[in-house]
């Protein structure tokens, strides 16, 4: 890092030391970057490996998993004939759909209200607390509630439970987006003659839609996926898919479970892809245009 004395006042080269240091930093940064990239790729592979295996083996013509005896569709076929599976699937979808919608209807107004509060810490705690409690606690707490009120367990008890853990998600997403939007837009709307109500529906709400959609998506998935809470509050007629699979898994590994799981995976992928596409289309088609900031 020495200074190159003879160069001062000459061709205007920077002191060698600083350049070296910067370059060294860049090289080691690149090394780190590559390491992280490789790691991430490996991680991704590990994340997907089990599922790939699962799907692969759902086509395995053998009861004992590991040995591959040939390709077959028969496990899938038997699934479609299985009424209990179809019923569980229907329940899951219905419950997830209802829960998501109700959670959105409750969560959006709650977020708007919280956003307007000066001291919102206390009240927002009420909405976030459920996420901090272990699933198992929430599950049995609701079970006790329904038992005390003599409400029979069924689809709607499950929906009630699911809504309760989905509302915080909606509130979280929408509140975050509201804070991100900032006051200026709202004020601009007022300035242009919009009443608070008009401002909300014409300016704020359209901007909230992406957040609401994301929250609903996540809620839907959480509902579909939920096992523990559902376990406690579901009735005999309201088996969801996870509960059904649980029953099967307890009895041991079997290809039917593989096939069912593989199907669920496929359905989920389709759902997600569809939602992503819908979201993209709803977004602004930003055509190639002017440079972004300062110029002419």
């Amino acid at each position: 890092m020495g200074r190159n004395e003879t160069d001062l006042g000459g061709a205007g080269r920077e002191p060698a030391g600083r350049m070296e240091r910067a370059n060294r930093g860049v090289t080691s940064r690149n090394v780190y970057r590559r390491a992280v990239a490789a790691y991430s790729a490996a991680m991704l592979a590990v994340l997907h490996a089990p599922l790939v295996v699962l799907i692969a083996y759902s086509f395995n013509d053998s009861r004992i998993n590991a040995a591959w005896s040939g390709f077959t569709w028969k496990w899938y076929v038997s699934l479609f004939g299985n009424e209990r599976v179809l019923e569980a699937l229907g329940n899951s979808l219905y419950i997830a759909g209802m829960s998501t919608v109700i959670a959105a209807l409750l969560g959006v107004p709650a977020a708007v209200w919280l956003h307007r509060l000066r001291r919102r810490a206390l009240w927002s705690g009420l909405f976030y607390l459920p996420q901090l409690m272990p699933d198992i606690f929430m599950g049995l707490a609701l079970l006790i509630l329904f038992s005390r009120l003599s409400i029979p367990l069924g689809k709607w008890t499950v929906i009630a439970a699911h809504v309760t853990f989905c509302v915080p998600v909606v509130v979280l997403f929408v509140l975050a987006r509201l804070s991100g939007i900032g006051r200026e837009l709202e004020e601009a709307a007022y300035d242009l003659g919009a009443t608070p109500r008009q401002a909300f529906f014409r300016v704020t709400l359209p901007l909230l839609v992406p957040a609401i959609v994301s929250a609903m998506l996540l809620s839907f998935t959480m509902s579909l996926d939920d096992f523990v809470i559902t376990f406690f509050v579901a009735g005999p007629e309201s088996t969801t898919l996870p509960l059904y699979i649980y029953g099967l898994v307890k009895r041991g590994v079997s290809p039917e479970v593989n096939a069912l799981s593989a199907l669920m995976v496929a359905v989920t992928i389709l759902l997600l892809a569809g939602a992503e596409l819908a979201r993209r289309r709803g977004e602004t088609p930003s055509r190639a245009v002017q440079p972004k900031r300062k110029e002419t």
Binding site: L185, E187, A188, D191, L192, K292, K294
Partner: protein, 425 residues
């Protein structure tokens, strides 16, 4: 047209605006000028209706609107960061206000086309804000506001996010717009050049108080308070008989030692033959008759301060030639000669900027000044608010003017009495 009466704004214990009153005339371009935190934006927001004053009234045409919400005031605002609705196109943004007012479609279209044409945005009407440049966004913000034909347009530092060239261009455009439409503009900025360029009147604010209201000329030539004198343009401060006076750099003459010597010789030469009322030799503080004046002569301290020797009113003499040689007009020189202001010093620095030459002169510590201008380099008080060295005097003239000066040169500085502006602190 707009009147603020004893408007005060406090946030808890913090006083943001002390009770102040202000009148905005119809059709004028008034600027609220001041540094960050002076309360100018808060004041604007009070006028707009986004803040309610803690006490005081806001009146529009004599009618109180203090508690009227923004959507019921006949004013529109151009926000600092434009606040364009990101999910709407340019056209939809501009239409918004008209839709809220429920104007008939033909009227809406007509005004829309007008505004688009005026702001050169016609070809961008279907773009969304994030597809526009900063300057274009700013124009949309303006178009969106004026299309409602408000009586007052409020602008909150609308050009602060733009670069220098663009800002200059848009300043001109905004000024023209205001003139063409005849709308009253209330403009907020911290950039005093901007304020000076665009405004009919400027209200200079500092820490919640309006220090002075006046035309740009008044503000510049006759600042009333210390703050205004220092905030708008550059100024030199001197203490005089217990008060502070300010002299603009362009009114300070820097006279190099060589020229001083010349003058002294010329004065001596001139004094001998022309004896009419002229004091001979070095006499203290003497005046010559008939316009022949011996300026700033020796004080009790005995150090000779060079004076400009002017001729009699009939002009044309060595001294007058000398006067011309350093760029002073004879008349002024004579007047300057009659005056008070002057001191010796050393040139610290010379800077060329914007076609001007700025000379920074460091005045000698022990030099008393003449004619009642007491020494102002008393270490116990700091006259300049922002840590500028008290002994540095700034002089300004056009680049390339004579005499050429060098760093480290010994010089004299002087100014004329009519250029002193007395300030109240």
């Amino acid at each position: 047209m707009i009147r603020l009466e004893s408007v005060e704004k406090r946030f808890g214990d913090r006083v943001v605006i002390s009770p102040l009153s202000l009148e905005v005339e119809e059709g004028e371009f008034l600027t609220l000028l001041g540094p960050s935190g002076c309360g100018k934006t808060t004041l604007l927001r009070i006028i707009a209706g986004f803040e309610t004053p803690t006490s005081g009234e806001v009146l529009l045409d004599g009618k109180p609107i203090t508690h009227l919400p923004p959507y019921r005031r006949d004013m529109n605002m151009v926000f600092q960061h434009y606040a364009l609705f990101p999910h709407m196109t340019v056209e939809e943004n501009i239409r918004f206000g008209m839709r809220m007012k429920k104007l008939p479609p033909e009227e809406q279209n007509r005004r829309l086309e007008e505004a688009l044409a005026y702001t050169n945005l016609s070809e961008y009407r279907r773009r969304k804000p994030h597809e526009l440049s900063g300057g274009q966004q700013q124009r949309v913000a303006v178009a969106r506001a004026i299309v409602n034909k408000p009586r007052v347009l409020l602008l909150d530092e609308p050009l602060s996010a733009l670069d220098y060239q663009l800002r200059r261009k848009l300043q001109v455009e905004l000024k023209n717009l205001q003139r063409d439409l005849g709308i009253t503009f209330v403009y907020v900025t911290h950039d005093q050049e901007e304020a000076m360029a665009m405004s009919d009147r400027i209200a200079v604010m500092n820490r919640g108080v309006i220090e002075q209201v006046g035309t740009p000329e008044e503000i510049y030539l006759r600042p009333r308070t210390l703050f205004v004198a220092m905030f708008v343009g550059e100024n030199n401060l001197f203490r005089k008989g217990g008060t502070t006076v300010a002299v603009r750099p362009e009114n300070i003459r820097v006279v190099p030692e060589s020229v001083l010597a010349e003058e002294e010789r010329a004065r001596r030469a001139a004094c001998e033959p022309v004896a009419v009322g002229a004091a001979a030799g070095a006499s203290a503080g003497s005046l010559a008759a008939n316009g022949g004046v011996n300026a700033g002569s020796v004080t009790a301290g005995g150090a000779a301060v060079g004076g400009a020797v002017a001729t009699g009113a009939n002009g044309g003499n060595l001294a007058a030639g000398d006067a011309a040689s350093y760029g002073g007009e004879p008349g002024v020189t004579a007047a300057a000669a009659a005056t008070a202001g002057g001191a010796f010093g050393t040139v610290q620095d010379i800077v060329f900027v914007g076609g001007l030459r700025k000379t920074f002169v460091r005045v000698d510590a022990d030099e008393p000044l003449v004619s009642g201008v007491l020494p102002w380099f008393d270490d116990s008080e700091s006259v300049y608010p922002s840590g500028r060295d008290r002994r540095i005097v700034i002089s300004c003239d056009t680049a390339g003017s004579l005499p050429p000066l060098r760093k480290g040169e010994r010089v004299a500085i002087r100014w004329a009495p009519e250029h002193e502006v007395t300030l109240s602190c």
